[in-house]
């Protein structure tokens, strides 16, 4: 079985403004998505994730390069039949109800009335909108629209589900529900490609990731291969007289000796945590290497502030 999605040296240049200034949004992006995997498309804001996904969905035409879905060119109708897509910050017809929107989408896939009703009711329940199906979309919150967007992406029971920032606008409970849904989709034999800049979501559920920075592909592969297995440092937390102390022990230092000294000095050892490279470290490293718009500096600052 060949890859479900094949992006081959995709490039997109936009001509902006009155003087048609050329801006390259995506440059030489190549990757594949294999069957029944969860593929995370990762990158900071403005990295070109949405532009790449729009090229795959036939919303934007590549300036050069090509892509195939199910082995067929983009915009092939047979391929589209097997595909579900959630746009970023989805907007739908606000004069329709949730049920009516799903009915419309079902019609576009040629589903008969009975199938449309059954799928719509099932999907509304699945995304937690079972009681809001008759409500006009203008009365939906952002999170509800996001859930409905996922429901409409699944109306045709697709083999490949492409989700652009599916966790955007959701509260922590909603994010967990969508993560669980993505994992369930994989268990059902589907393939999921989703974009995000929320690293924890990627770490928890993705089989493989692609990292896009400044419109260029930096890394593609399983997280286990992308992340360096080497020890960065060991975090030791000690406590004495109610005051705690955090030590970062470099990899070459003798942690055992340090712990012995601490115990001899009457301190309690609260925790010893070896720190290997995390996805966040990798992400910062890649953004740093690309040095896009001060993104690396910003991320480092954010991390320092969070830790302090």
């Amino acid at each position: 079985m060949s890859a479900l999605v094949e992006a081959d040296h995709l490039q997109k240049t936009f001509a902006l403004g009155f003087f048609r200034k050329k801006v390259r949004a995506v440059e030489d992006v190549s990757f594949t998505v294999e069957q029944n995997e969860i593929f995370g498309f990762l990158g900071p804001n403005g990295a070109g994730k949405t532009t790449t996904l729009k090229m795959l969905m036939g919303l934007i035409f590549p300036s050069s390069g090509q892509a195939r879905i199910f082995g067929k060119p983009i915009n092939d109708r047979q391929a589209k039949r097997r595909l579900g897509f959630l746009p970023e910050n989805p907007y739908f017809y606000d004069y329709l109800s949730g049920g009516e929107l799903l009915d419309l989408m079902g019609r576009l896939f040629g589903l008969d009335r009975a199938a449309r009703r059954k799928r719509a009711a099932m999907l509304l329940d699945r995304v937690g909108l079972g009681r809001a199906g008759d409500r006009a979309l203008r009365k939906y919150s952002k999170g509800m629209l996001q859930r409905l967007g996922i429901a409409q992406a699944l109306i045709n029971d697709p083999e490949l589900v492409v989700l652009d920032e599916p966790m955007s606008g959701l509260d922590p409970i909603g994010r967990k529900e969508i993560r669980d849904l993505i994992v369930d989709l994989k268990a059902e034999g589907k393939t999921v490609l989703f974009s995000t800049h929320i690293l924890s979501d990627v770490e928890l559920i993705c089989d493989r990731v692609a990292m896009l920075v400044g419109g260029r592909m930096r890394d593609v592969g399983p997280l286990s291969k992308l992340l360096s297995p080497r020890l960065l440092h060991t975090e030791v937390v000690l406590e004495k007289d109610g005051a705690s102390e955090l030590l970062r022990v470099p990899p070459e230092a003798d942690v055992d000796a340090l712990l012995s000294e601490a115990l001899a000095a009457g301190k309690h050892v609260v925790s010893v945590t070896p720190r290997r490279e995390s996805l966040e470290d990798l992400f910062v490293r890649e953004v740093d290497a690309a040095d896009v718009g001060g993104g690396a500096e910003r991320m480092k600052r954010d991390r320092t502030e969070r830790k302090s």
Binding site: K54, M57, K80, L83, F85, L86, P90, M105, R107, L108
Partner: protein
């Protein structure tokens, strides 16, 4: 075909849930009803006024609805990003344009039916009182011609809506509709000015504008005879020929809209 129907029904549903449309239709209905008390003279004169004002009202509000709703048809889908969820579905982009156009025609057909029914009701009351001929067959043909006219205007609105903003599209569409009503006069005028090459160029450019005079013929000279909905009016053969012209013009405008839409990036 089912996808075009689905998109058309959705466009129709959007239109009938749009309050502005009701307001426009209400103005049209009001115009027909108000033509009765404002018309003076004998009853058969009042019938003439009802026919004239009624048909003018149907044309005016039909064109206004076609312009103001039509120029938003495609633009709004792109601007509000609703198109992002539709294009990845198994539809061709040209089906999207056709669906919007057909949905708009369905809306206009309902508006025409409402206004025509009202005019027919007023005329039937007046006919009973006077025993004068109602000329209903001529009125049906006149309404069919007006529907052809709004079809052409809708196609132009969709064309501009496929690449321009509603304000510009509205101005362009209204401009073409106005010029389209004066094509014979403009042709006559341009035939008398400038040099031969410039006349040929202007005559060619004039062909780009729709000849909307074909569609509202009451009071005009057709085939050397004056035709009017109050007496001798054009036959169905004329209506068929005019409809063919309208279909051809609309087809060209829509084909252009489809080409433009099929090449657009939805950023």
């Amino acid at each position: 075909m089912s996808r075009i129907v689905a998109l058309a029904l959705n466009t129709f549903r959007e239109a009938i849930r749009n309050k502005v449309l009701y307001l426009l239709a209400l103005f049209g209905v009001g115009l027909i009803v108000l033509s009765v008390p404002f018309s003076q003279g004998a009853l058969h004169e009042q019938m003439r006024v009802t026919r004239d004002v009624g048909l003018a009202g149907i044309e005016l509000f039909g064109v206004l609805i076609a312009v103001f709703v039509g120029v938003n048809l495609v633009y709004k889908e792109v601007d509000r990003k609703t198109v992002f969820a539709l294009i990845p579905k198994p539809i061709h982009r040209y089906e999207f344009i056709l669906g919007k156009f057909v949905g708009m025609l369905m809306t206009l057909a309902v508006m025409f039916a409402i206004m025509s029914a009202l005019m027919a009701a007023v005329l039937s009351v007046q006919t009973e009182a006077t025993n004068a001929p109602s000329n209903s067959a001529a009125i049906v043909r006149a309404i069919a011609l007006l529907f052809c006219e709004v079809t052409v205007v809708t196609a132009i609105a969709v064309l501009f809506s496929s690449f321009s903003t509603p304000i510009l599209s509205g101005a362009f569409t209204l401009g073409m509709a106005v010029v389209g009503h004066f094509t014979p006069e403009l042709r006559e005028l341009t035939a008398r000015i400038g040099t031969v090459p410039s006349r040929i160029a202007i005559a060619g450019a004039m062909r780009l504008f729709p000849d909307l005079n074909l569609f509202y013929v009451s009071g005009a000279m057709v085939g050397g005879q004056r035709v009017t909905v109050h007496g001798s009016f054009v036959d169905w053969g004329y209506v068929g020929t005019a409809a063919l012209y309208g279909a051809a013009y609309s087809g060209c405008a829509l084909a252009l809209a489809m080409i433009i839409f099929s090449r657009r990036d939805f950023v």
